[in-house]
């Protein structure tokens, strides 16, 4: 395993991570489509293209509930 660069260092509250770890992103799928997710750091969302949903990440915790997700246009 490579040394863990902490991508949260720029965060004011260093104890609260902003993003899920890479290993977690590999494991997580969309609960609706079971398809892959991509992290959008600008909006702090996990995007499911298949389901057209954007799941929020709050305090580093992915909120994988369809009713909390934003519907993507198009």
């Amino acid at each position: 395993m490579t040394s863990q660069e902490n991508p949260q260092e720029d965060n004011a509250d260093a104890k609260t991570p902003s993003w899920p770890d890479a290993h977690l992103l590999e494991l997580l799928v969309c609960p609706v489509s079971r398809g892959p997710l991509t992290l959008d750091k600008t909006t702090s969302e996990l995007i499911s293209k298949d389901a057209g949903l954007a799941y929020p990440v709050r305090d580093g915790i992915p909120i994988m509930l369809p009713e909390e997700a934003r519907k993507l246009e198009g």
């Binding site: 997580l28 305090d59 915790i61």
Partner: protein, 256 residues
Amino acid sequence: MEPSQNTTSFGFQTVNEEDKQGLVRGVFDAVADKYDIMNDLMSAGLHRLWKQRLVDSLHIRPHADGVLRLIDMAGGTGDIAFRACQRADKLSSQISVQVVDANEQMVGVGAKRGRDNGFGQVDFITGTAEALPVADQSADYVTIAFGIRNVTHRDRALAEAYRVLKPGGRFVCLEFSHMPLKLAQKFYDAYSFNVIPPMGKAITGDASAYQYLIESIRQFPKAEAFMEEVAAAGFARCQFQRLNGGIAALHSGWRI
């Protein structure tokens, strides 16, 4: 979506299926901060022993290559996750645990506990057991402790546990159960209904949340019937063990 006419239990009340999740969320929002203290008082500390029994029953083994993965469904405040990590540490085994719980507040409490106690190998995720946001065949263990009775569609949660397990993986479920000895059940009922809600009110300020908890325990199927449900989800070599005369039961099955 057309509202369904299907109903389910919420404690002793009958409610529409689509309402149960919200009602359960209300219960846990009300008690999230004090949830662990209340568990101690409600079970006279027994829940700690039962959770340890669950972790023992996983038979986490020394593991030379790779990382064991455990998904803990409805694992809110991290009790099972942290215990599993401690066990793996003792065996010099590497483990990665993902706690998936529908209640954001409970997850928040668990994530903070994890950070404060240095459990970096535990991830917290808000999500439901009925639609796990986890890839197929990714886990060596799936656990659920005192969560399955709050799930609206138990069959879906069991099917999800099966889906995310690798072949050879193990499912273990800890839940309140029923005492086969009628007199014991009678005393236990009297204690639960007369002592627990007032105690809950004194500590969390909310008696109705605890009224729900004990009612939902009575509504949950008997150990034999629940084992049938586990088997119906596809699990093999299903078995159960009563704990403390049946106050709780530990069910398990394998994906083969």
